[in-house]
Amino acid sequence: MTVIEWLRDPNPASRRQARLGQAYLGWLRLRRNPLAMAGLVIIGLLLVVAAFAPWLAPHDPIAQNLQNRLMPPGTAGHWLGTDDFGRDILSRILYGARITLAVIALVAVTAPVLGLIIGTVAGYFGGWVDAVLMRLTDIFLAFPRLILALALVAVLGPGIENAVLAIALTAWPPYARVARAETLTVRNADYIAAIRLQGASAPRIIWGHVVPMCLPSVIIRVTLDMAGVILIAAGLGFLGLGAQPPLSEWGLMISAGRKYLFEQWWVATMPGLAIFIVSLGFNLLGDGLRDVLDPRSSGK
């Protein structure tokens, strides 16, 4: 019996085989969707670039060379040109992938989890718990996100860690809303009544039974929001409140290129293209994940 047959066995013998089999079927479903695969390839490239930046980058990203400043793309040795300090833009983008990835990873594990917990708790208990948590959510939603993040960074002080914290603290309300709406549709379902009748505690019901029902819509929201998170991180960097020079963060690079936008367009355009491609990757992947995460669409 080959590994594939073992994975595809419709009657798995153990929990592990069942779980791996499900994962394999999920992968097959994802592979059938060319757009999602394109997204996955882009995200994979981002991971590789971030991991191997020191080996891939032709130059030191913060080494200045004022004789070579503002060289156009295609110059020998500087294929994407140089910025106003003569630093190689390609190297800076490659290193910048690390910061972008760190920001995405940190926001992706904090904001959705916080939103998911707040939304499911509010939806499951209802009453005053719901009222308090949802008014809190309303207050956060009523502020434009960038402005709120700006205020938080202004209080906490500029820096990449504080920017991540500010983004996470402003990104959770939409997840809470989505999770609450999903919770309201399932909280009166018979299968929730059944597990309550089995004597399950509220945390167990919420985490084990309500959250799995909310997860797909939240995950899809997360991948769709990742583009926005990159842009807000870039925006904070652009405003000088995120990553600090000479760190090579993409938003900061666009900000630095703004002064030369008309004469030396590549300084701002190259990191902008990087943001665009990565955002696109997340959007494409998000769409494909929806199909994978629903076990009801399996087995066809």
């Binding site: 419709p10 009657n11 798995p12 929990r15 085989q17 069942a18 089999g21 379902a189 018979d190 299968y191 009544a193 059944a194 597990i195 009748l197 089995q198 004597g199 399950a200 505690s201 167990r204 084990g208 039974h209 799995p212 029902m213 076990p295 009801r296 399996s298 087995g299």
Partner: protein, 252 residues
């Protein structure tokens, strides 16, 4: 089969009233008593409050007056209650978690109550309700309605309760599958000495399954009939008679 008096049943319900928020009076002053190992049926048309009585026992409907006692104790819905009383829901398409495998659904009650040996117990439970053990890691959407209801019955029996509340357990199923599920329930009751409190709008089902029947109309108890009286069509009230006549052709 004991035909217990009102003061010595396993389930004692006295003057139960259920009023939903908004003033809908679903159940009004219903009393009934079910002896240990008895099978008791609640019949009536839709909206007669029969399912609400089951939901009130489980704490899923608000009790506005009256009392419910299980084994002489006033009800406290804790884990001990869960181990004594379980329910099988009407719609097997809605009562199983769509994202949990059967294995997860059946082992969850064991995990809640800290009972070990889950692997063996899950396999045993599947065998007991007549499902192949190879179904263990399937999802509910991969099963038919009858198979799902078998899983729901297996889940209700995981904690080895003495009382099973059955809320129209076959009304969502095909006629042929209905009989299979009813036979399964009858067999499990005989094997395990279970007490059934069963709701149905179908007198044929009740006649097949129950020792005694309470006919309900608009939230009130109309008439209680032992099986012999049901079989001999000796109803006292006009409503019970009309209900009987409506389904008599299928009982023969």
């Amino acid at each position: 089969m004991q035909n217990g008096r009102a003061d010595m049943g396993l389930i004692d319900i006295e003057n139960l009233s259920v009023v939903f928020p908004g003033g809908v009076r679903a159940v009004e002053g219903v009393s009934l008593s079910v002896g240990a190992r008895e099978s008791y049926g609640l019949v009536g048309e839709s909206g007669s409050g029969k399912s609400t009585i089951l939901r009130a026992i489980c704490g899923l409907a608000p009790v506005s007056s009256g009392s419910i006692r299980i084994g002489g104790e006033v009800l406290r819905r804790d884990r001990r209650f869960a181990a004594r009383v379980q329910m099988v829901f009407q719609d097997p398409y809605a009562s199983l978690h769509p994202r949990h495998t059967l294995d997860r659904t059946l082992s969850e009650p064991l995990a809640i109550h800290g009972i070990g040996d889950a692997d063996r117990r899950v396999v045993q439970a599947l065998e007991q309700v007549g499902l192949p053990t190879s179904f263990r890691f399937r999802y509910p959407h991969q099963l038919s309605g009858g198979q799902r209801q078998r899983v729901a019955i297996a889940r209700a029996l995981m904690l080895e309760p003495e009382i099973l509340l059955l809320d129209e357990p076959t009304s969502a199923l095909d006629a042929s599958v209905q009989a299979e599920v009813l036979n399964l329930l009858a067999r499990l009751r005989a094997e395990r000495g279970l007490t059934f409190l069963m709701v149905s709008h179908d007198l044929a089902v009740v006649d097949h399954m129950c020792d005694r029947v309470l006919v309900m109309q608009q939230g009130r108890a109309v008439e209680e009939l032992p099986r012999a009286a049901l079989a001999a069509a000796q109803m006292q009230t006009a409503y019970a008679r009309s209900l009987f006549e409506a389904s008599a052709d299928r009982m023969l």
